[in-house]
């Protein structure tokens, strides 16, 4: 292609590779600002409601959204590439930095994937500890989602209530492994730390503490007229669209598909617990809200069963000092708070993975944004970004 054949777009990118030009085009670009009724605006990457550094380019007709384009990569740290230069053990803490509000789930997925590759099985006690911590983390993640989602829609107060209660979970994490956010709680083959003295009491105390608090959040929002108007029928997505786009997690379940990896392809020891998978019917923001609220309660049920049954025993399986999986590849997925979190690990027989590919739920779910907001209003874009529950650390990796 000669220089003269380049369009404006290509020319601009060639002169300054850092520019990003939108694919969205105004229908009548020649008209002046006053005559035109279409507008292209940037939402983000510095914007209070895009949950980090997401940039959404919006094409607006007045307040109506005609098209969106997500620009990602502002938080790209090359986590997958880093994996190729670290040993399996050394890479473990890196996965915590992807979805940093659900670090325990990330760690669980990675450890189980490598265990599957090496044919190791974690001992029962380790599995119970893993389930307790993962479910606590799911609760913390949902609480953070609820607070920020409500804040985006304009209700300030739930944010502080959810953070107050999330604090109790973080305290348990801190007592267990010393870290609050990027926990690095699990090791390949089990858990490194035995539970601290009083761990079970703390968890049980938490189980009694939190249900009234969840009722409190619901009291503020579930039947609130304005909340209903802002969420009902907003950001609808059908089950077929969800499947086509690979959307998973609460977003998929709110569209009426009963798909939860904990039940469908049980990992850890989830098959031993008795719990429900809440599903919605309409696939709108309100249903996703209800599904997540119910998931919090179901998580509590799982934790209660796990704490009651937790056996004594070793917490680490017999794992070689140097982790050197046989040549091969494995895909292992778990149900992270935001959806299906998958790890595809390829081993060439050395101490370092040949390739680690992560299937992040936030990244895949973010694709649905365009379908969900097209034809709706600017305010709905905010509501939908909130309801998708994305974490940019995981989208960009």
């Amino acid at each position: 292609m000669g220089e003269d054949q380049l369009g404006d777009r290509e020319r601009a990118i060639m002169t300054d590779p850092t520019t990003y030009l939108s694919h969205l085009e105004l229908s009548e670009p020649d008209k002046t600002f006053l005559d035109s009724n279409e507008l292209i605006i940037n939402m983000g990457p510095q914007h209070p409601a895009t949950h980090g550094v997401l940039r959404v380019i919006l094409k607006l007709d007045g307040e109506k959204v005609l098209g969106t384009e997500c620009v990602i990569g502002y938080l790209h740290r090359g986590v997958e590439k880093i994996a190729e230069h670290r040993t399996y053990t050394m890479f473990n803490p890196y996965v915590d930095r992807m979805d940093y509000v659900a670090a325990v789930s990330n760690g669980l997925g990675y450890c189980e994937a490598v265990e599957k590759l090496m044919n190791i099985e974690a001992p029962p006690r380790a599995k119970y500890i893993r389930v307790i911590l993962t479910e606590l983390n799911r609760l913390a993640s949902h609480q953070l989602w609820l607070g920020t989602h409500a804040l985006d829609i304009g209700a300030m107060t739930p944010l502080f209530y959810t953070f107050r209660d999330r604090e109790e979970i973080l305290k348990i994490f801190e007592k267990y492994c010393g870290a609050r956010l990027t926990t690095h709680a699990f090791r390949i083959g089990g858990c490194q730390y035995e539970t601290y003295e009083g761990f079970e009491d703390d968890v049980k105390k938490f189980l009694d503490f939190v249900p009234p608090k969840i009722d409190e959040y619901e009291e503020l929002l579930t039947t609130n007229r304005i909340w209903l108007e802002r969420t009902r029928g907003v950001g609808k997505i059908s089950a077929a669209d969800c499947k086509a786009l690979g959307v998973t997690g609460p977003v998929l379940r709110a569209s009426g598909v009963k798909w939860d990896i904990r039940k469908a392809l049980p990992y850890a020891n989830y098959s031993e617990y008795d719990f429900e998978i809440p599903i919605g019917q309409n696939g709108d923001t309100y249903d996703r809200y209800l599904v997540r609220m119910e998931e919090m309660r179901q998580s509590l049920r799982i934790i209660r069963q796990a704490v009651e049954r937790i056996p004594e025993g070793p917490i680490m399986a017999k794992v070689p000092k140097v982790i050197k999986p046989p040549v091969g590849e494995v895909y292992h997925s778990i149900e992270a708070p935001k959806g299906e979190l998958g790890y595809f690990v390829v081993s060439d027989g050395s101490t370092q993975p040949y390739r680690v590919r992560v299937r992040p739920p936030s990244f895949v779910n973010l694709q649905a944004l365009d379908i969900m907001v097209r034809g709706q209003l600017v305010a709905d874009v905010i509501a939908v970004i909130g309801t998708l529950d994305i974490v940019l650390g995981e989208v960009d990796r």
Partner: protein, 416 residues
């Protein structure tokens, strides 16, 4: 000259009626200063109350319990660099905050804090208030346009649409209250703010309870519309932080931004004053007609003094509960001094001449304060409406009800 100044003191009217410019200017100064202080107090109160709704402490560092925080904020804003975006329309950008400020302060001319405590009493008082306060739309549009940026533009368009739509329902509610003023022997109503309160006194009822529930519904409509009119939660979408960063004043900073805030809070107090005047009996003390006699007069006239003594008591409780650590010594002394000042004011308010003069103002301010608290409460509780829903509420719900109430009030007024 001295005669000119002292001649007003004997009169029983507002300075405007008496044609005394000196006292009119003095009153204007007092009102301007008083409102500015009220805005500062409101700022502190909002942050504190909102914080306590949200299990936080709010400002605690500057002064005891953050009492000096508004002053610190003001100083910070005054000393900030004055930024005008290079692409902005500089003149309009410069004028916009001034228009909002002027519009929201000018209305205070007719607000009656008592039968004589107003700068003047226009015979079209309420129309003047509604007219002037709606001028602030102009400032909003100018600010959004002059910033030459997308977010402020969308914010100002939303804001102007919202303020204009809600003014209609608001006006209808106001008219139904004005109709009630004509229910006397002569059948003559009034638009004068002082006249409206006096009509409530004559009819021996707050218009809130007149033709129950008609007066009440009109009041509720006004109370909703006034929140929308002042762009506060849950109708704060012109400055919806999560969507439009800060709406029409996104590009403003420092002093100019603080003028917007000053204007916004002054407007909140102004519309609350209208509501108090029209429906809650303005400066009238509770039960002015049933609980009469010297004893009751005395009891009610002691309220202002006791209120300040109670505030002083709160301050002293704060002093006792202050941590006993050298770090907090200055704050403790400051809080004790603040309590002492409040107590002193309380004692001064017990002196009979002061007591009689200050009563009306006290009841008026107390009623307005209830509205101010409601504003904070709404903000802590409600999510934000979406633009189309807001319009729907304004045009399809509030306006028809307001018109219905107006017609029913008119019919009842003719029949009775």
């Amino acid at each position: 000259m001295l005669d000119y100044i002292t001649s007003y003191l004997g009169m029983n009217t507002t300075p405007g009626q008496a044609g005394n410019i000196f006292w009119a200017v003095v009153y204007i100064m007092i009102v301007f200063g008083g409102v500015s202080v009220a805005v500062m107090a409101m700022n502190w109160l909002e942050r504190k109350a909102l914080a306590h709704f949200q299990i936080r402490l709010g400002p605690m560092r500057v002064g005891p319990h953050g009492l000096l925080q508004p002053i610190a904020d003001a100083l910070k804003l005054f000393t900030k660099e004055d930024i005008i975006p290079s692409e902005a329309d500089k003149l309009v950008f410069w004028i916009a905050p001034l228009i909002i400020l002027c519009a929201s302060f000018t209305v205070y001319i007719v607000i009656p804090f008592g039968p004589t405590h107003a700068v003047t009493d226009l015979n079209i008082g309420i129309l003047f208030m509604l007219g002037v306060s709606s001028l602030s739309v102009l400032g909003v549009v100018m600010a959004g346009w002059a910033s030459n940026s997308h977010y402020p533009l969308i914010g100002s368009l939303r804001s102007s649409a919202q303020m204009i739509s809600y003014e209609v329902a608001m006006g209808m509610a106001v008219v139904s209250a004005i109709l009630m003023t004509s229910l006397n022997k002569e059948g003559t109503g009034t638009l004068s703010m002082i006249g409206i309160v006096q009509a409530q006194q004559q009819q021996q009822i707050w218009f809130l309870f007149k033709f129950f529930p008609l007066g009440f519904i009109a009041f509720v409509i006004f109370a909703i519309a006034m929140v929308a009119e002042t762009n506060r939660a849950p109708f704060d979408l012109p400055e919806a932080e999560s969507e439009l960063t800060a709406g029409f004043h996104t590009e403003y900073s420092g002093l100019r931004w603080s003028l917007f805030m000053l204007g916004e809070y002054a407007a909140m107090i102004a519309v609350s004053s209208i509501a108090v005047t029209l429906w809650l009996g303005g400066w009238l003390r509770p039960f002015p007609n049933t609980l009469t006699g010297d004893t009751w007069d005395l009891v009610f006239s002691l309220f202002p003094g006791f209120t300040f003594l109670a505030l002083a008591l709160v301050a002293f409780v704060g002093v006792v509960r202050m941590p006993k650590h050298p770090y907090f010594r200055i704050q403790t002394i400051g809080l004790a001094g603040f309590g002492a000042v409040l107590g002193l004011i309380g004692l001064i308010l017990f002196i009979p001449p002061v007591r009689d003069r200050i009563q009306d103002i006290f009841w008026f301010v107390a009623k307005v304060a209830v509205f101010m608290y409601l504003y904070i409460w709404y903000r802590a509780t409600f999510p934000r409406y979406r633009f189309d829903q807001l319009m729907k509420v304004g045009w399809k719900v509030l306006l028809p009800i307001a018109i219905g109430v107006l017609i029913l009030t008119a019919i009842l007024g003719v029949l009775l």
